[in-house]
């Protein structure tokens, strides 16, 4: 199936999640365990996405300029930089390291 199909399914399901909170009676949903899983899964997914984008290249692991981007982003975040500054720091570091010959 084309990317468009999966993209539109993702959009429909995202809206379904949002709407379910408004339409389903709170009594049925007010389960601390569901809320907790939503939270732990958010952390787990974002941690995983960070790592995949930093070290995975297809099905193999690689140590390249993206690791520098990860370190630069962590430093920027520790200094309480706003989101966009963090992203630019990551991009700039990766670009610089590549220019210096570290792929």
């Amino acid at each position: 199936m084309s990317l468009w199909v999966w993209l539109l399914i993702a959009c429909a399901l995202a809206y379904a999640w949002k709407l379910v909170g408004y339409l389903v009676p709170a009594r049925l949903l007010e389960n601390p365990r569901m809320s907790r899983i939503a939270g732990t899964m958010t952390i787990g997914l974002l941690a995983s996405l960070t790592v995949v984008n930093a070290v995975a290249s297809g099905q193999s692991l690689a140590a390249d300029a993206r690791l520098g981007a990860l370190a630069a982003a962590a430093i920027a975040l520790a200094l309480r930089a706003p989101f966009l500054v963090v992203v630019v720091a990551g991009a700039g570091t990766a670009a610089l390291l590549r220019m210096l010959g570290w792929n």
Partner: protein
Amino acid sequence: MKLLASPAVRVGLSISIATGLYGISFGALSVTSGLDFWQTMALSLLLFSGGSQFAFIGVVGGGGSGIAAMSAATLLGMRNGIYGMQLNALLHPTGWRKYVAAQVTIDESTATSTGQTDPAEQRRGFWAAGIGIYVLWNLFTAVGALAGSGLGDPKQWGLDGAAVAAFLALLWPRLKGREPIAIAVVCALATVVAVPFVPAGVPILVAAVVAAVFGWFSHGRSDEGLEPDVEPYRERHHVESRQHGTDHHRGDGHQRGDGGTPGAES
């Protein structure tokens, strides 16, 4: 103007600008991940949830399949259902407003609303942040997508590094305390171990399962990880979210019934 005198509206608008602006990075990363302009815009217009949108393009950009991208985005969107439930108890939107409110139910609009104590301010904060972010996020997504498609080789500009930074920035505000850090580390390790053995995109779903199992069997804060990427109440957020935690959300619906007075704000 009277509306601008509302503290919740002011917070909502400033959070809209801060969040909307980083739509530029989403737009640029999306087109360099292999999506076209309209696919990028469809994600911002229809899916409209930063983390899920980045997840979708992150999986596609890493060579993952459409179904893996869809799954990662959908699992990450689960928390919006919890927000919807909280906001429904807080704001009681009726008729068509319910359906519009659902679309703009995200981390930031929820945090702007629940950060207020007066019911009228909670409502104003939600709509100001929700609609403000929706408009600016889409506008800046378009700017980023147009700029990104003219960049040439994305690696030369370090855009793969930008994606890494974006995900870390989305994760960062949720790492308050030892438990969320432990979850993040375990899921990161599970991902690294899984990469060589399963197709691209699937390691992310492996991590999601690990996190869900952890959440199911452990007992901690039930609002762990449910934090906005950009905090509307930066100075006092830490204290408030710690103190009120779960009963904050749970109690609000009842407080209203006990006599929330919409005219109470000065």
